[in-house]
């Protein structure tokens, strides 16, 4: 199992290493986002008691949202790459199981994330004055929720691609983005129109960012938001896993693995 997972990690690492677009997506753009918004938030605050909290909230939101979106996208695009390259049949007539394949993708993206966060912490501290290491420690609980929910969306989108072919491949890049306005990344849940609050409150992303804000402002209550967000994310992951399994079985019956798309 580990050997086969390792092979999948290597397969995608080779592809990423040879593709400047992927390197830019993974490393360059997240760092530039943090630098830009870090400078902007410093300009807005200009000293005072809020010198840490306000810029950190903005930069923290940028880091977390970017991470969530990239994690979801890279899982779905990883699978999409197998369809584009007509590699599905070769992979799944080997002893590789689909669970091993997906686990390999998740592990690879977690490793990539660790590198990116390390880089961001350094850039953040050096250029914007926001203490990156302290900030990332503060982000970790919310990050856990977002990664779990990101994996759920990635798996769900992968299922949609398998079911409806590359006609829906744009979802791999965009589905998480659709949730951004109601995920309360930069503003509290209370800032949303009342009609949207119920739905937004159900999203693990909203709970993750509510918890982050509460923690940064030293308020009580992040534990409740973290528990709600974590539970919601786990529930979403279980539902996405169930959906993907059903689509995978249907693909076996329908012939999509023989000739995808």
């Amino acid at each position: 199992m580990w050997r086969r997972m390792g092979a999948i990690i290597r397969r995608h690492a080779y592809e990423a290493a040879g593709n400047p677009d992927r390197i830019a997506d993974a490393l360059l753009w997240p760092c530039l986002d943090v630098i830009t918004w870090g400078f902007f938030s410093r300009y807005l605050v200009r000293g005072g008691d809020a010198a840490f909290a306000a810029p950190a909230q903005l930069v923290g939101g940028i880091i977390l949202w970017g991470t969530f979106r990239a994690f979801q996208r890279d899982i779905a695009v990883g699978f999409l790459a197998e369809i584009w390259s007509r590699n599905i049949a070769g992979l799944f007539v080997s002893p590789l199981g689909v669970g091993e394949y997906l686990a390999g993708l998740v592990v690879l993206n977690l490793a990539k994330l660790a590198i990116v966060l390390g880089l961001i912490a350094g850039v953040c501290h050096a250029l914007t004055g926001v203490p990156g290491d302290a900030l990332i420690l503060l982000l970790l609980p919310s990050l856990g929720i977002l990664l779990c929910f990101g994996a759920a969306i990635g798996l769900f989108v992968t299922g949609l691609i398998l079911r409806f072919s590359t006609r829906v491949q744009t979802l791999a890049y965009g589905l998480a983005g659709l949730l951004m306005p109601v995920s309360c990344v930069f503003y509290p849940l209370a800032a949303l129109p009342p009609a949207l609050r119920g739905f937004a409150g159900l999203l693990p992303t909203t709970q993750a960012f509510e918890a982050l804000r509460a923690a940064m402002q030293g308020q009580s209550g992040p534990a409740g938001a973290l528990a709600d967000g974590g539970g919601g994310a786990l529930l979403a992951l279980a539902a996405a896993g169930w959906y993907f399994s059903a689509v995978w079985r249907a693909a076996h019956r329908g012939g999509q693995l023989v000739r995808p798309d």
Binding site: R4, N19, S85, G90, V258
Partner: protein, 253 residues
């Protein structure tokens, strides 16, 4: 009697059936393939050849019937069966962004090949693509890509090899070389091969027996002469797959 009935079967297909959108594509197909045997699957476009290969390789779930490989039901022993099999098909390409060596090393790891570097070098040399080891697969010509696909298919020294149109896009000289290498692997290790091809010379040259598919049904199964007689009359003295195929395309079985 068929060779597949005498020797222990490496592959035993019983009553396989598959329909798409209510249209039968494979209907009640049964056959056995013995160790070291090469069975050719012959049929016009849409006869169900690739569907049959898809079901035997586990990519496609049959509606009915069962596949036994190495004496075990495939359905409950997928990974163990697949570890001793491999497939070459124009529908199973390799990622174009990776080099030939990177791709083969990944498949070597998936199959647990021992001393993968040496095995990869040996196959690339045999198939005349050693110079392309560092080339990205997207940059290969069609013929080179097919040869690299054959290297991938032989990487784990499979006991059962599924070849779906293995020499399509190859020029005659390279195709003949590929056939020689496949035969050499078969003779050296008793590899069993299931082969689909539109190239009748290839079927004639490589195969011990032929399964003739017509509209998803097994129209005939046996030696090339048996199949010729089944379709063209018992008085025939010589096998003529060309005539069989022409008749099949014109009138069906």
């Amino acid at each position: 009697m068929d060779q597949g009935d005498e020797a222990p079967a490496v592959l035993n297909v019983a009553g396989l059936a598959k329909s798409f959108a209510g249209r039968p594509v494979i209907a009640d197909v049964s056959f056995r393939v013995a160790k070291g045997e090469i069975l050719g699957i012959l049929g016009a476009n849409g006869a169900g050849k690739s569907t049959l290969i898809g079901m035997i390789s586990g990519l496609l779930a049959p509606d009915a019937g069962a596949v036994e490989i190495f004496g075990r039901r495939f359905a409950g022993n997928r990974a163990a069966c697949l570890a001793r099999m491999n497939l070459a098909s124009p529908y199973a390409a390799l990622p174009g962004a990776l080099t030939v060596r990177q791709n083969l090393s990944i498949y070597a790891a998936l199959y647990g090949v021992r001393q993968p570097g040496r095995r990869i070098d040996e196959l690339l040399e045999q198939f005349g693509v050693a110079a392309q080891a560092g080339t990205r697969c997207a940059k290969l010509s069609s013929g080179q890509a097919i040869r690299v696909g054959l290297c991938k298919a032989l990487l784990n020294r499979p006991d059962l090899l599924l070849l779906d149109e293995p020499t399509v896009y190859l020029d005659p000289e390279i195709a003949a070389r590929a056939r020689r290498l496949i035969l050499r692997e078969r003779e050296a290790r008793g590899m069993t091969i299931l082969l689909t091809s539109h190239n009748l010379d290839e079927i004639d040259h490589l195969c011990d027996r032929v399964l003739l598919l017509d509209g998803g049904r097994a129209a005939a199964l046996g030696s090339k002469l048996d199949v010729t007689r089944a379709l063209l009359g018992q008085q025939r003295e010589q096998a003529s797959l060309g005539e069989v195929f022409a008749r099949l395309a014109r009138e069906g079985a």
